[in-house]
Assembly symmetry: C2
Homo-oligomer: 342 residues x 2
DNA sequence: CTGAAAGCGCTTACAG
DNA sequence: CTGAAAGCGCTTACAG
């Protein structure tokens, strides 16, 4: 679209400088001049060229979104889609560009990041996952590159900006919810514990039990690192214990579906025999029968906030690292019931 | 990173023009000079500035990815995430930028698009959904903006570039698969039929039945426009017919889960009483028990191809609209069985 | 085969 | 309050 600042200047009878200043509502331009310029802009449908202004201001207005390496299965979780949606929503309205970065493994991702940094493309990166050790985060930190973590920081906590739920609290609340219903043998089922949210939710769960004076049993804390292909042994073992848990807290809806199925196979009814409560409140939670009581973590808002923090820090580099906690809320459905003595 | 073309030129003892040409491996530069320049580039870790080269070449190297309006539920489908991954993978390696565009409804999306076009930001758009009538597509077409459709074109078929599966064929093959197993009362379950893939898969299904001389029964073609909150009446009605279908072809794994659950409720076993075959081969297909036989549509490759087409057309505007068909393949699992006379 | 120069479309100190 | 000018870092006809 070839209408430039010069065209507007010519039509309004002012200099390009004045047009530029009017665009940013610079205080030194008189009201009348601004009015004149704005009319010209409207008439021509002028919009400043993105590349040119990026170059002049040395701000690319572009932020990278780093997905987990695609070799992780966790990757295929609509949670990330929601976060991306949140990010892009905010970016769209603030006229920032967001670009998704993927790779088979960390090595590939790092390659792309390095390139973007050197070409001056990205002002910063939003990392959509967090775990204890991560070469990508280490690199960003060491190079002093601006980044925002969706999830909790593990290293360099005070120097990293992150946006997260209070997963410890959420884990605690869900466990308490089950306790309120009279359950005592409550299990915890999660994916890879090196992903911090899995760990945090477990901590909350442990806290709740401990506060109630209920011993925490490691055997009831089960980890399923990857999605079970067939019948999962760990799950099966858990559900066939003589002191079978009467309720299970699951760290993700996807896993909860696996658990529901495990119960079905064994002829256990939900919530009759086993209550289930899970996380993410995805489409799945509504789909299964019984539908799942699940914690909505506001994935989209995690994204929005991450983008907001990112842009805030791009434009004000002197700002100090902030931590944002996005609220969660429990959505009650049909997978939990009052515990009845057998 | 402030190492510019001038720094390289100085170090190599040539002019900036020569450095620039070396970067693009221009044939007119002598081998020795190129060598000299490349060494200087390597030494300084030089990478051409993205904004500057965009401005000079008038190519922003940025493509917009248009997600379905977030008011659609269909939206929360990991399928889109996979496509995005495919797109960004290709873009990352070709040094293109992709930016996700979202909005509550078409109106909001259009707003963002118009803005990007006027600021000269996006060279083109990849649209991740296709249905019969769509204001976004109409706009892009009418304005002569470059776009690539993931899915099939409905209007302006010959002028639009699209990347799709052969959904008619896929639908036909899945129906044939069920027919081979001896099923005759086969139902088709899908989401909103105005989404073209739902429609195409149904056509394939009808074709297969017709070829076998089996009458197509409209009552067995069921549409569930939105995800069932609780027990779904349509599903229920389908499964409690006196001439209950012995197999169901479902247009998406997510819906298949709903169907599986409907069966459970009614005490119908899968695949004993009802065989199920579905589409997308998402994580879900592996998770449920029985796991789902599902058609893998290569979502990620749909994205890669779409990006490839996009970039091809950005760089060669004279190219004519291409259609790319990405192959699919059936992944057999445990949800289908040979039909046994009752 | 190589370089000087103009240009891409904005921004912003500097001068008035 | 406004403008002329230099600059952001590349690209590419044009000239040699």
């Amino acid at each position: 679209m070839p209408v430039t600042i010069k065209d507007v200047a010519a039509l309004a009878g002012v200099s390009p400088s004045t047009v530029s200043r009017t665009c940013k509502d610079h205080p030194s331009i008189s009201r009348q001049t601004k009015e004149k310029v704005r009319q010209a802009m409207a008439k021509l449908g002028y919009e400043p060229n993105f590349q040119a202004s990026s170059l002049a201001t040395q701000n690319s207005r572009t932020i990278g979104i780093i997905l987990p390496p695609s070799e992780w299965e966790a990757y295929q979780n609509a949670f990330y889609l929601e976060v991306i949606r949140g990010i892009s929503q905010y970016c769209n309205q603030r006229q920032y560009i967001n670009t998704v970065i993927t790779g088979q493994n960390e090595e590939e991702i790092l390659q792309v990041i390095k390139n973007m940094v050197r070409t001056g493309l990205a002002e910063g990166f939003i990392v959509l996952y967090s775990r204890e050790q991560d070469p990508v985060l280490d690199y960003l930190y060491e190079e002093g590159i601006l980044y925002v973590l969706v999830g909790k920081a593990y290293r360099n906590v005070n120097q990293t900006i992150y946006v997260d739920n209070d997963n410890v609290l959420a884990g605690k609340e869900t466990a308490e919810y089950l306790l309120e219903l009279g359950h005592e043998r409550i299990a915890y089922l999660s994916g890879d514990h090196s992903l911090l949210f899995n760990n945090d939710r477990r901590m909350g769960y442990m806290l709740a039990l401990t506060e109630r004076g209920i011993g925490f049993l490691p055997e009831l804390c089960v980890e399923v690192p990857s999605v079970p292909e067939k019948q999962n042994e760990v799950l099966h073992a858990l559900l066939t214990r003589t002191d079978r848990p009467t309720a299970v807290l699951v760290s993700d809806d996807i896993l909860a579906v696996a658990l529901e199925k495990g119960c079905m196979e064994l002829g256990l009814s939900i919530p009759g025999d086993v209550s289930i409560i899970s996380f993410n409140n995805s489409l799945l939670a509504r789909l299964t029968v019984p539908s799942l009581t699940s914690v909505d973590v506001n994935s989209c808002q995690l994204g929005t906030q991450a983008a907001a923090q990112m842009i805030e820090h791009v434009e004000n580099p002197e700002l100090v690292a902030t931590k944002i906690i996005v609220p969660h809320h429990l959505v009650e459905r049909d997978s939990c019931a009052v515990y009845k003595r057998p």
